[in-house]
Amino acid sequence: MIVLFYNRKTKNRISTAWMYIAISFVVLLPFILGLGLYFKSSLLFSENSLGDLLFSKVWKPSIGKFGFLTFIMGSVWVTFIAMLISAPICIFAALSITQYSKKFYLKIIHPVIDILAGLPSVVYGVWGIIVVVPFISTVIAPLFGAQTMGYSILAGAIVLSVMIIPFILNILIEIFRTIPIELTEASLSLGATKWETIKYVLLKKALPGIIASLGFGLARAFGETMAVLMVVGNMVQIPKNVFDAGYPLPALIANNYGEMLSIPKYESALMFAALILFVVVMVFNALMRMLIVRYDKY
Protein backbone atom coordinates (compact mmCIF):
# COMPACT_ATOMS: atom_id res chain seq x y z
CA MET A 1 0.00 0.00 0.00
CA ILE A 2 2.69 2.39 1.07
CA VAL A 3 4.83 1.51 -1.91
CA LEU A 4 1.93 2.11 -4.18
CA PHE A 5 1.24 5.41 -2.53
CA TYR A 6 4.86 6.44 -2.84
CA ASN A 7 4.84 5.41 -6.44
CA ARG A 8 1.81 7.47 -7.23
CA LYS A 9 3.30 10.47 -5.54
CA THR A 10 6.56 10.18 -7.41
CA LYS A 11 4.78 9.67 -10.65
CA ASN A 12 2.70 12.67 -9.97
CA ARG A 13 5.78 14.75 -9.23
CA ILE A 14 7.57 13.59 -12.34
CA SER A 15 4.62 14.24 -14.55
CA THR A 16 4.11 17.68 -13.03
CA ALA A 17 7.76 18.54 -13.58
CA TRP A 18 7.57 17.26 -17.11
CA MET A 19 4.55 19.43 -17.81
CA TYR A 20 6.37 22.50 -16.56
CA ILE A 21 9.32 21.72 -18.77
CA ALA A 22 7.10 21.21 -21.77
CA ILE A 23 5.22 24.43 -21.14
CA SER A 24 8.36 26.49 -20.63
CA PHE A 25 9.82 25.03 -23.77
CA VAL A 26 6.79 25.99 -25.82
CA VAL A 27 6.58 29.44 -24.28
CA LEU A 28 10.30 30.09 -24.74
CA LEU A 29 10.45 28.78 -28.28
CA PRO A 30 9.60 32.08 -29.97
CA PHE A 31 12.20 33.90 -27.91
CA ILE A 32 14.88 31.34 -28.68
CA LEU A 33 14.04 31.58 -32.36
CA GLY A 34 13.93 35.36 -32.36
CA LEU A 35 17.19 35.70 -30.46
CA GLY A 36 18.93 33.22 -32.74
CA LEU A 37 17.86 35.14 -35.80
CA TYR A 38 18.86 38.43 -34.21
CA PHE A 39 22.38 37.30 -33.41
CA LYS A 40 22.82 35.69 -36.78
CA SER A 41 21.87 38.91 -38.51
CA SER A 42 23.90 41.17 -36.22
CA LEU A 43 26.77 41.31 -38.70
CA LEU A 44 24.46 43.23 -41.00
CA PHE A 45 23.45 45.69 -38.30
CA SER A 46 27.06 46.55 -37.55
CA GLU A 47 27.45 48.13 -40.99
CA ASN A 48 23.95 49.25 -41.97
CA SER A 49 21.37 51.24 -40.12
CA LEU A 50 18.00 49.63 -39.58
CA GLY A 51 16.37 52.39 -41.62
CA ASP A 52 18.59 51.64 -44.59
CA LEU A 53 17.96 47.95 -44.35
CA LEU A 54 14.20 48.35 -44.25
CA PHE A 55 13.62 51.33 -46.52
CA SER A 56 16.34 51.24 -49.13
CA LYS A 57 15.61 49.48 -52.38
CA VAL A 58 19.25 49.13 -53.42
CA TRP A 59 20.07 45.43 -53.37
CA LYS A 60 23.70 45.01 -54.43
CA PRO A 61 25.25 42.28 -52.27
CA SER A 62 28.46 42.46 -54.30
CA ILE A 63 29.15 45.98 -53.01
CA GLY A 64 27.61 45.35 -49.61
CA LYS A 65 24.31 47.14 -50.20
CA PHE A 66 21.41 45.34 -48.63
CA GLY A 67 18.13 47.23 -48.98
CA PHE A 68 15.14 45.04 -48.29
CA LEU A 69 12.36 47.33 -49.45
CA THR A 70 11.82 45.44 -52.71
CA PHE A 71 11.33 42.18 -50.91
CA ILE A 72 9.18 43.67 -48.20
CA MET A 73 6.97 45.25 -50.83
CA GLY A 74 6.85 41.96 -52.69
CA SER A 75 5.60 40.23 -49.59
CA VAL A 76 3.13 42.97 -48.73
CA TRP A 77 1.64 43.02 -52.22
CA VAL A 78 1.26 39.28 -52.54
CA THR A 79 -0.22 38.91 -49.07
CA PHE A 80 -2.53 41.88 -49.36
CA ILE A 81 -3.98 40.78 -52.67
CA ALA A 82 -4.28 37.20 -51.50
CA MET A 83 -6.32 38.45 -48.53
CA LEU A 84 -8.40 40.67 -50.78
CA ILE A 85 -9.33 37.60 -52.80
CA SER A 86 -9.78 35.07 -50.02
CA ALA A 87 -11.46 37.07 -47.25
CA PRO A 88 -14.74 37.81 -49.04
CA ILE A 89 -14.83 34.33 -50.57
CA CYS A 90 -14.38 32.71 -47.17
CA ILE A 91 -16.93 34.88 -45.38
CA PHE A 92 -19.60 34.38 -48.01
CA ALA A 93 -18.85 30.69 -48.37
CA ALA A 94 -19.03 30.15 -44.62
CA LEU A 95 -22.31 32.07 -44.44
CA SER A 96 -23.84 30.22 -47.33
CA ILE A 97 -22.78 26.85 -45.98
CA THR A 98 -23.98 27.49 -42.45
CA GLN A 99 -27.02 29.69 -43.09
CA TYR A 100 -28.40 28.90 -46.48
CA SER A 101 -27.47 25.37 -47.49
CA LYS A 102 -28.80 21.95 -46.80
CA LYS A 103 -26.99 19.95 -44.14
CA PHE A 104 -25.50 17.91 -46.95
CA TYR A 105 -23.08 20.68 -47.91
CA LEU A 106 -21.87 21.04 -44.36
CA LYS A 107 -21.12 17.34 -44.43
CA ILE A 108 -19.14 17.35 -47.67
CA ILE A 109 -17.29 20.61 -47.05
CA HIS A 110 -15.15 19.18 -44.28
CA PRO A 111 -13.51 16.40 -46.32
CA VAL A 112 -13.00 18.91 -49.13
CA ILE A 113 -11.32 21.33 -46.76
CA ASP A 114 -9.15 18.58 -45.31
CA ILE A 115 -7.94 17.56 -48.75
CA LEU A 116 -7.17 21.14 -49.77
CA ALA A 117 -5.41 21.88 -46.51
CA GLY A 118 -3.38 18.70 -46.68
CA LEU A 119 -1.91 19.18 -50.15
CA PRO A 120 1.82 20.00 -50.12
CA SER A 121 2.44 23.55 -51.23
CA VAL A 122 4.55 22.44 -54.16
CA VAL A 123 1.38 20.96 -55.64
CA TYR A 124 -0.24 24.36 -55.50
CA GLY A 125 2.87 25.79 -57.11
CA VAL A 126 2.67 23.35 -59.99
CA TRP A 127 -1.02 24.11 -60.40
CA GLY A 128 -0.11 27.79 -60.46
CA ILE A 129 2.45 27.28 -63.21
CA ILE A 130 0.21 25.09 -65.33
CA VAL A 131 -3.08 26.93 -64.89
CA VAL A 132 -2.84 30.32 -63.21
CA VAL A 133 0.24 31.73 -64.94
CA PRO A 134 -0.95 31.05 -68.51
CA PHE A 135 -4.46 32.18 -67.60
CA ILE A 136 -3.10 35.52 -66.43
CA SER A 137 -0.87 36.06 -69.45
CA THR A 138 -3.48 35.08 -72.03
CA VAL A 139 -6.79 36.16 -70.47
CA ILE A 140 -6.63 38.48 -67.47
CA ALA A 141 -3.71 40.74 -68.42
CA PRO A 142 -5.00 41.46 -71.96
CA LEU A 143 -8.32 42.38 -70.39
CA PHE A 144 -6.54 45.21 -68.61
CA GLY A 145 -4.29 45.99 -71.55
CA ALA A 146 -1.23 44.73 -69.74
CA GLN A 147 1.52 42.49 -71.03
CA THR A 148 3.04 39.83 -68.85
CA MET A 149 4.47 36.36 -68.95
CA GLY A 150 2.05 35.54 -66.21
CA TYR A 151 4.68 35.09 -63.52
CA SER A 152 3.49 37.92 -61.35
CA ILE A 153 2.24 39.23 -58.05
CA LEU A 154 -1.26 38.32 -59.13
CA ALA A 155 -0.28 34.73 -59.85
CA GLY A 156 1.35 34.48 -56.43
CA ALA A 157 -1.67 36.02 -54.78
CA ILE A 158 -4.14 33.72 -56.50
CA VAL A 159 -2.16 30.62 -55.61
CA LEU A 160 -1.77 31.89 -52.07
CA SER A 161 -5.42 32.65 -51.64
CA VAL A 162 -6.37 29.18 -52.81
CA MET A 163 -3.95 27.80 -50.25
CA ILE A 164 -5.25 29.78 -47.29
CA ILE A 165 -8.96 29.54 -48.11
CA PRO A 166 -9.35 26.08 -46.55
CA PHE A 167 -7.75 27.27 -43.31
CA ILE A 168 -9.78 30.44 -42.98
CA LEU A 169 -12.98 28.76 -44.12
CA ASN A 170 -12.57 25.95 -41.64
CA ILE A 171 -12.41 28.37 -38.71
CA LEU A 172 -15.20 30.57 -40.04
CA ILE A 173 -17.59 27.66 -40.46
CA GLU A 174 -16.92 26.63 -36.90
CA ILE A 175 -17.51 30.17 -35.70
CA PHE A 176 -20.84 30.59 -37.48
CA ARG A 177 -21.94 27.16 -36.40
CA THR A 178 -21.38 27.88 -32.75
CA ILE A 179 -23.47 31.05 -32.72
CA PRO A 180 -26.63 29.99 -30.88
CA ILE A 181 -29.64 29.55 -33.13
CA GLU A 182 -31.70 31.53 -30.61
CA LEU A 183 -29.91 34.68 -31.69
CA THR A 184 -31.09 34.17 -35.24
CA GLU A 185 -34.56 33.36 -33.95
CA ALA A 186 -34.61 36.52 -31.85
CA SER A 187 -33.66 38.70 -34.78
CA LEU A 188 -36.12 37.03 -37.15
CA SER A 189 -38.93 37.26 -34.66
CA LEU A 190 -38.37 41.01 -34.45
CA GLY A 191 -39.21 41.23 -38.13
CA ALA A 192 -35.71 41.14 -39.59
CA THR A 193 -35.09 39.35 -42.84
CA LYS A 194 -32.49 36.67 -43.02
CA TRP A 195 -29.98 38.98 -44.64
CA GLU A 196 -30.56 41.70 -42.04
CA THR A 197 -30.03 39.09 -39.37
CA ILE A 198 -26.73 38.09 -40.91
CA LYS A 199 -25.61 41.68 -41.39
CA TYR A 200 -26.56 43.14 -38.04
CA VAL A 201 -26.43 40.17 -35.70
CA LEU A 202 -24.42 37.21 -36.92
CA LEU A 203 -21.52 39.12 -38.47
CA LYS A 204 -21.31 41.32 -35.43
CA LYS A 205 -21.36 38.40 -33.07
CA ALA A 206 -18.74 36.64 -35.16
CA LEU A 207 -16.48 39.66 -35.61
CA PRO A 208 -13.74 38.64 -33.15
CA GLY A 209 -13.65 35.20 -34.70
CA ILE A 210 -13.58 36.64 -38.21
CA ILE A 211 -10.64 38.84 -37.27
CA ALA A 212 -8.85 35.88 -35.74
CA SER A 213 -9.40 33.64 -38.75
CA LEU A 214 -8.30 36.30 -41.23
CA GLY A 215 -5.26 37.10 -39.12
CA PHE A 216 -4.39 33.45 -39.02
CA GLY A 217 -4.72 33.24 -42.79
CA LEU A 218 -2.70 36.40 -43.26
CA ALA A 219 0.17 35.13 -41.14
CA ARG A 220 0.23 31.95 -43.14
CA ALA A 221 0.13 33.82 -46.42
CA PHE A 222 2.94 36.12 -45.36
CA GLY A 223 5.26 33.23 -44.66
CA GLU A 224 4.25 30.82 -47.40
CA THR A 225 7.29 30.12 -49.54
CA MET A 226 7.30 27.35 -52.08
CA ALA A 227 4.11 27.87 -54.03
CA VAL A 228 4.60 31.62 -54.26
CA LEU A 229 8.22 31.34 -55.25
CA MET A 230 7.23 29.15 -58.18
CA VAL A 231 4.86 31.63 -59.79
CA VAL A 232 5.76 35.10 -58.61
CA GLY A 233 8.62 35.79 -61.01
CA ASN A 234 11.38 36.50 -58.48
CA MET A 235 12.65 39.74 -59.97
CA VAL A 236 14.32 42.27 -57.70
CA GLN A 237 11.98 45.17 -58.37
CA ILE A 238 9.21 46.92 -56.56
CA PRO A 239 6.03 45.83 -58.33
CA LYS A 240 4.08 48.74 -59.79
CA ASN A 241 0.98 46.74 -60.49
CA VAL A 242 -0.29 43.24 -59.94
CA PHE A 243 0.99 42.03 -63.30
CA ASP A 244 4.59 42.84 -62.42
CA ALA A 245 6.86 40.16 -61.09
CA GLY A 246 7.86 40.47 -57.46
CA TYR A 247 10.21 38.90 -54.99
CA PRO A 248 8.74 38.22 -51.54
CA LEU A 249 10.94 37.67 -48.51
CA PRO A 250 10.46 33.91 -48.10
CA ALA A 251 11.38 33.42 -51.75
CA LEU A 252 14.56 35.43 -51.23
CA ILE A 253 15.61 33.15 -48.41
CA ALA A 254 14.69 29.91 -50.13
CA ASN A 255 16.28 30.81 -53.46
CA ASN A 256 19.61 31.92 -52.07
CA TYR A 257 20.14 30.05 -48.90
CA GLY A 258 22.34 27.19 -50.14
CA GLU A 259 24.69 29.03 -52.48
CA MET A 260 25.18 32.26 -50.63
CA LEU A 261 26.18 30.82 -47.29
CA SER A 262 29.83 31.17 -48.16
CA ILE A 263 29.51 34.96 -48.04
CA PRO A 264 29.04 35.84 -44.35
CA LYS A 265 27.29 39.12 -45.03
CA TYR A 266 24.88 37.52 -47.43
CA GLU A 267 24.07 34.83 -44.92
CA SER A 268 23.52 37.50 -42.35
CA ALA A 269 21.20 39.29 -44.76
CA LEU A 270 19.11 36.18 -45.26
CA MET A 271 18.87 35.79 -41.51
CA PHE A 272 17.67 39.34 -41.35
CA ALA A 273 14.99 38.55 -43.91
CA ALA A 274 13.89 35.71 -41.66
CA LEU A 275 13.92 38.07 -38.70
CA ILE A 276 11.65 40.49 -40.53
CA LEU A 277 9.19 37.68 -41.25
CA PHE A 278 9.36 36.61 -37.65
CA VAL A 279 8.80 40.08 -36.22
CA VAL A 280 5.97 40.86 -38.62
CA VAL A 281 4.15 37.67 -37.71
CA MET A 282 4.66 38.37 -33.99
CA VAL A 283 3.52 41.96 -34.20
CA PHE A 284 0.64 40.94 -36.32
CA ASN A 285 -0.43 38.35 -33.80
CA ALA A 286 -0.33 40.90 -31.02
CA LEU A 287 -2.36 43.40 -33.03
CA MET A 288 -4.91 40.76 -33.82
CA ARG A 289 -5.29 39.86 -30.19
CA MET A 290 -5.85 43.48 -29.31
CA LEU A 291 -8.52 43.74 -31.98
CA ILE A 292 -10.19 40.59 -30.77
CA VAL A 293 -10.35 41.86 -27.21
CA ARG A 294 -11.65 45.17 -28.49
CA TYR A 295 -14.53 43.57 -30.35
CA ASP A 296 -15.24 40.72 -28.02
CA LYS A 297 -17.59 42.53 -25.70
CA TYR A 298 -20.83 40.97 -26.82
Partner: protein
Protein backbone atom coordinates in the same frame (compact mmCIF):
# COMPACT_ATOMS: atom_id res chain seq x y z
CA UNK B 1 -63.97 30.96 -35.80
CA UNK B 2 -64.92 31.89 -32.31
CA UNK B 3 -65.16 35.64 -31.98
CA UNK B 4 -62.51 35.88 -29.30
CA UNK B 5 -60.09 33.44 -30.82
CA UNK B 6 -56.78 35.00 -31.72
CA UNK B 7 -54.90 31.96 -32.93
CA UNK B 8 -56.53 28.93 -34.42
CA UNK B 9 -54.55 25.84 -35.29
CA UNK B 10 -56.19 23.31 -37.57
CA UNK B 11 -54.98 19.80 -38.33
CA UNK B 12 -51.39 20.70 -37.86
CA UNK B 13 -48.93 17.92 -38.53
CA UNK B 14 -45.18 18.35 -38.39
CA UNK B 15 -42.51 15.92 -39.40
CA UNK B 16 -38.78 16.25 -38.99
CA UNK B 17 -37.23 13.67 -41.25
CA UNK B 18 -39.37 10.61 -40.65
CA UNK B 19 -40.21 11.60 -37.08
CA UNK B 20 -43.82 12.65 -36.56
CA UNK B 21 -43.39 15.46 -34.02
CA UNK B 22 -46.77 17.19 -33.95
CA UNK B 23 -49.84 15.07 -34.56
CA UNK B 24 -53.08 16.58 -35.79
CA UNK B 25 -53.05 19.61 -33.50
CA UNK B 26 -56.32 21.51 -33.20
CA UNK B 27 -56.40 24.39 -30.76
CA UNK B 28 -57.98 27.77 -30.28
CA UNK B 29 -56.13 30.38 -28.32
CA UNK B 30 -58.30 33.17 -26.88
CA UNK B 31 -57.49 36.81 -27.39
CA UNK B 32 -56.09 38.90 -24.53
CA UNK B 33 -55.74 35.91 -22.29
CA UNK B 34 -52.78 34.05 -20.94
CA UNK B 35 -52.70 30.61 -22.46
CA UNK B 36 -50.36 28.03 -21.02
CA UNK B 37 -49.03 25.07 -22.95
CA UNK B 38 -48.28 22.26 -20.52
CA UNK B 39 -46.72 18.89 -21.06
CA UNK B 40 -43.78 16.65 -20.29
CA UNK B 41 -40.39 17.21 -21.86
CA UNK B 42 -40.12 16.39 -25.54
CA UNK B 43 -43.86 16.45 -26.22
CA UNK B 44 -43.54 19.20 -28.81
CA UNK B 45 -44.39 22.40 -26.92
CA UNK B 46 -41.46 24.40 -28.27
CA UNK B 47 -42.04 23.11 -31.77
CA UNK B 48 -45.70 24.12 -31.67
CA UNK B 49 -44.76 27.59 -30.47
CA UNK B 50 -42.19 28.01 -33.22
CA UNK B 51 -44.69 26.99 -35.86
CA UNK B 52 -46.75 30.01 -34.94
CA UNK B 53 -44.15 32.50 -36.08
CA UNK B 54 -42.61 30.21 -38.65
CA UNK B 55 -39.26 29.81 -36.94
CA UNK B 56 -39.66 26.23 -38.06
CA UNK B 57 -38.47 27.56 -41.44
CA UNK B 58 -34.97 27.29 -39.97
CA UNK B 59 -35.26 23.56 -39.39
CA UNK B 60 -33.67 21.18 -41.82
CA UNK B 61 -35.75 18.52 -43.44
CA UNK B 62 -39.08 19.62 -42.01
CA UNK B 63 -42.56 19.03 -43.42
CA UNK B 64 -45.64 20.83 -42.15
CA UNK B 65 -49.30 20.26 -43.03
CA UNK B 66 -52.36 22.05 -41.76
CA UNK B 67 -53.00 25.67 -40.97
CA UNK B 68 -52.46 28.24 -38.28
CA UNK B 69 -54.83 31.18 -38.53
CA UNK B 70 -53.96 34.44 -36.90
CA UNK B 71 -56.71 36.99 -37.50
CA UNK B 72 -57.97 34.82 -40.35
CA UNK B 73 -54.63 34.78 -42.09
CA UNK B 74 -52.91 31.45 -42.55
CA UNK B 75 -49.39 31.80 -41.20
CA UNK B 76 -48.24 28.63 -42.89
CA UNK B 77 -49.45 29.74 -46.30
CA UNK B 78 -46.38 30.21 -48.44
CA UNK B 79 -47.56 33.54 -49.83
CA UNK B 80 -47.78 35.10 -46.39
CA UNK B 81 -45.13 37.72 -45.70
CA UNK B 82 -43.13 36.03 -42.97
CA UNK B 83 -41.50 39.17 -41.62
CA UNK B 84 -44.88 40.88 -41.18
CA UNK B 85 -46.27 37.81 -39.44
CA UNK B 86 -43.31 37.61 -37.13
CA UNK B 87 -43.63 41.26 -36.18
CA UNK B 88 -47.07 40.45 -34.85
CA UNK B 89 -45.45 38.18 -32.29
CA UNK B 90 -42.86 38.89 -29.66
CA UNK B 91 -40.74 35.91 -28.72
CA UNK B 92 -39.23 35.16 -25.35
CA UNK B 93 -36.99 32.14 -25.20
CA UNK B 94 -35.92 29.87 -22.42
CA UNK B 95 -32.70 31.70 -21.77
CA UNK B 96 -32.26 35.35 -22.69
CA UNK B 97 -30.22 35.94 -25.82
CA UNK B 98 -29.50 39.65 -26.07
CA UNK B 99 -28.45 40.78 -29.53
CA UNK B 100 -24.74 41.59 -29.85
CA UNK B 101 -25.21 45.32 -29.36
CA UNK B 102 -25.80 47.77 -26.58
CA UNK B 103 -28.87 47.93 -24.37
CA UNK B 104 -30.42 50.79 -26.29
CA UNK B 105 -30.02 49.13 -29.65
CA UNK B 106 -31.41 45.86 -28.38
CA UNK B 107 -34.71 47.61 -27.88
CA UNK B 108 -34.40 49.83 -30.94
CA UNK B 109 -33.34 47.00 -33.26
CA UNK B 110 -36.79 45.96 -34.44
CA UNK B 111 -37.81 49.58 -34.91
CA UNK B 112 -34.71 50.53 -36.85
CA UNK B 113 -35.15 47.53 -39.10
CA UNK B 114 -38.66 48.54 -39.97
CA UNK B 115 -37.28 51.89 -41.04
CA UNK B 116 -37.88 54.09 -38.03
CA UNK B 117 -34.78 56.18 -37.63
CA UNK B 118 -36.00 59.36 -35.98
CA UNK B 119 -33.67 59.68 -33.01
CA UNK B 120 -36.12 61.41 -30.70
CA UNK B 121 -38.93 59.02 -31.40
CA UNK B 122 -36.61 56.08 -30.91
CA UNK B 123 -35.34 57.46 -27.62
CA UNK B 124 -38.87 57.86 -26.37
CA UNK B 125 -39.87 54.38 -27.39
CA UNK B 126 -36.80 52.74 -25.91
CA UNK B 127 -37.46 54.52 -22.63
CA UNK B 128 -41.11 53.62 -22.71
CA UNK B 129 -40.56 49.91 -23.25
CA UNK B 130 -37.73 49.68 -20.77
CA UNK B 131 -40.08 51.25 -18.25
CA UNK B 132 -42.80 48.82 -19.17
CA UNK B 133 -40.62 45.90 -18.12
CA UNK B 134 -39.34 47.71 -15.01
CA UNK B 135 -35.81 47.87 -16.35
CA UNK B 136 -35.42 51.59 -16.98
CA UNK B 137 -34.38 52.52 -13.45
CA UNK B 138 -31.65 49.91 -13.52
CA UNK B 139 -30.14 50.79 -16.89
CA UNK B 140 -30.98 54.40 -17.81
CA UNK B 141 -27.41 55.52 -17.09
CA UNK B 142 -25.73 52.79 -19.11
CA UNK B 143 -27.85 52.40 -22.19
CA UNK B 144 -24.75 52.24 -24.36
CA UNK B 145 -23.12 49.36 -22.60
CA UNK B 146 -23.25 45.87 -24.10
CA UNK B 147 -26.47 44.13 -23.17
CA UNK B 148 -24.48 41.04 -22.26
CA UNK B 149 -23.27 42.83 -19.14
CA UNK B 150 -26.71 42.70 -17.55
CA UNK B 151 -27.73 39.95 -15.17
CA UNK B 152 -29.74 37.07 -16.57
CA UNK B 153 -32.94 38.37 -15.06
CA UNK B 154 -32.32 41.84 -16.48
CA UNK B 155 -31.46 40.33 -19.84
CA UNK B 156 -34.75 38.46 -19.90
CA UNK B 157 -36.65 41.65 -19.20
CA UNK B 158 -34.64 43.36 -21.92
CA UNK B 159 -35.63 40.61 -24.33
CA UNK B 160 -39.25 41.19 -23.38
CA UNK B 161 -38.83 44.93 -23.97
CA UNK B 162 -37.28 44.46 -27.39
CA UNK B 163 -40.16 42.14 -28.30
CA UNK B 164 -42.77 44.63 -27.13
CA UNK B 165 -41.05 47.45 -29.00
CA UNK B 166 -42.18 46.20 -32.40
CA UNK B 167 -45.83 46.45 -31.34
CA UNK B 168 -46.81 42.81 -31.43
CA UNK B 169 -50.30 41.53 -30.75
CA UNK B 170 -49.11 38.23 -29.41
CA UNK B 171 -46.36 37.23 -27.02
CA UNK B 172 -44.88 33.77 -27.43
CA UNK B 173 -42.87 32.69 -24.42
CA UNK B 174 -41.03 29.40 -24.12
CA UNK B 175 -40.39 28.66 -20.46
CA UNK B 176 -39.37 32.28 -19.99
CA UNK B 177 -38.62 31.91 -16.31
CA UNK B 178 -36.75 28.63 -16.27
CA UNK B 179 -33.31 30.24 -16.19
CA UNK B 180 -34.30 32.92 -13.70
CA UNK B 181 -34.11 33.23 -9.95
CA UNK B 182 -37.42 33.23 -8.04
CA UNK B 183 -37.62 37.01 -7.79
CA UNK B 184 -36.93 37.61 -11.48
CA UNK B 185 -39.43 34.88 -12.31
CA UNK B 186 -42.06 36.59 -10.27
CA UNK B 187 -41.36 39.89 -12.00
CA UNK B 188 -41.96 38.27 -15.36
CA UNK B 189 -45.09 36.50 -14.17
CA UNK B 190 -46.58 39.69 -12.83
CA UNK B 191 -45.64 41.51 -15.98
CA UNK B 192 -47.47 38.90 -18.00
CA UNK B 193 -50.62 39.27 -15.94
CA UNK B 194 -50.49 42.97 -16.66
CA UNK B 195 -49.64 42.58 -20.33
CA UNK B 196 -52.49 40.26 -21.11
CA UNK B 197 -54.85 43.23 -21.05
CA UNK B 198 -53.25 44.29 -24.32
CA UNK B 199 -51.64 41.16 -25.68
CA UNK B 200 -52.51 37.58 -26.33
CA UNK B 201 -49.93 35.57 -24.44
CA UNK B 202 -48.96 32.00 -25.19
CA UNK B 203 -46.55 30.58 -22.69
CA UNK B 204 -44.92 27.18 -22.42
CA UNK B 205 -44.06 25.97 -18.99
CA UNK B 206 -42.97 22.91 -17.11
CA UNK B 207 -43.98 24.26 -13.79
CA UNK B 208 -47.47 23.20 -12.75
CA UNK B 209 -47.61 25.65 -9.88
CA UNK B 210 -46.77 28.49 -12.22
CA UNK B 211 -49.49 27.37 -14.58
CA UNK B 212 -52.03 27.26 -11.76
CA UNK B 213 -51.01 30.74 -10.68
CA UNK B 214 -51.37 32.58 -13.95
CA UNK B 215 -53.15 30.55 -16.61
CA UNK B 216 -56.49 31.60 -18.06
CA UNK B 217 -56.54 28.85 -20.58
CA UNK B 218 -54.56 25.62 -20.70
CA UNK B 219 -53.43 23.31 -23.48
CA UNK B 220 -52.06 19.98 -22.38
CA UNK B 221 -49.80 18.08 -24.75
CA UNK B 222 -48.42 14.59 -24.59
CA UNK B 223 -46.17 12.89 -27.15
CA UNK B 224 -46.98 15.33 -29.91
CA UNK B 225 -50.71 15.37 -29.37
CA UNK B 226 -53.03 17.79 -27.66
CA UNK B 227 -54.75 15.72 -25.01
CA UNK B 228 -56.96 18.35 -23.46
CA UNK B 229 -57.58 22.07 -23.62
CA UNK B 230 -59.87 24.44 -21.83
CA UNK B 231 -60.25 27.29 -19.37
CA UNK B 232 -57.79 26.99 -16.52
CA UNK B 233 -60.32 26.56 -13.75
CA UNK B 234 -62.05 23.72 -15.50
CA UNK B 235 -58.77 22.16 -16.55
CA UNK B 236 -57.26 22.07 -13.10
CA UNK B 237 -60.36 21.32 -11.07
CA UNK B 238 -62.13 19.02 -13.39
CA UNK B 239 -59.86 17.42 -15.97
CA UNK B 240 -61.63 15.11 -18.35
CA UNK B 241 -58.89 12.89 -19.65
CA UNK B 242 -57.07 10.21 -17.68
CA UNK B 243 -53.66 11.41 -18.93
CA UNK B 244 -54.36 14.91 -17.73
CA UNK B 245 -55.33 13.67 -14.30
CA UNK B 246 -52.19 11.59 -14.11
CA UNK B 247 -50.09 14.56 -15.19
CA UNK B 248 -51.68 16.89 -12.67
CA UNK B 249 -50.94 14.36 -9.98
CA UNK B 250 -47.30 14.43 -10.98
CA UNK B 251 -47.16 11.08 -12.73
CA UNK B 252 -44.73 12.27 -15.42
CA UNK B 253 -42.33 14.20 -13.30
Amino acid sequence: MNENTKIKVEHLDLYIGKQHILKDINIEIPENKLTIILGPSGCGKTTLLKCMNRLTDLYHDVKINGSIFIDNEDVLHTKTDVTEIRKKMGLLSQRPFPLPMNIYNNVAYGLKISGRRNKKALDARVENYLKQVNLWDEVFDRLHEPASKLSIGQQQRLCLARGLAVDPEIILADEPTSALDPISSETIERKFEELKQQYTIVMVTHILRQARRIADYVIFMYMGEVIEQGPAKEFFENPKMERTKAYLQGAFN
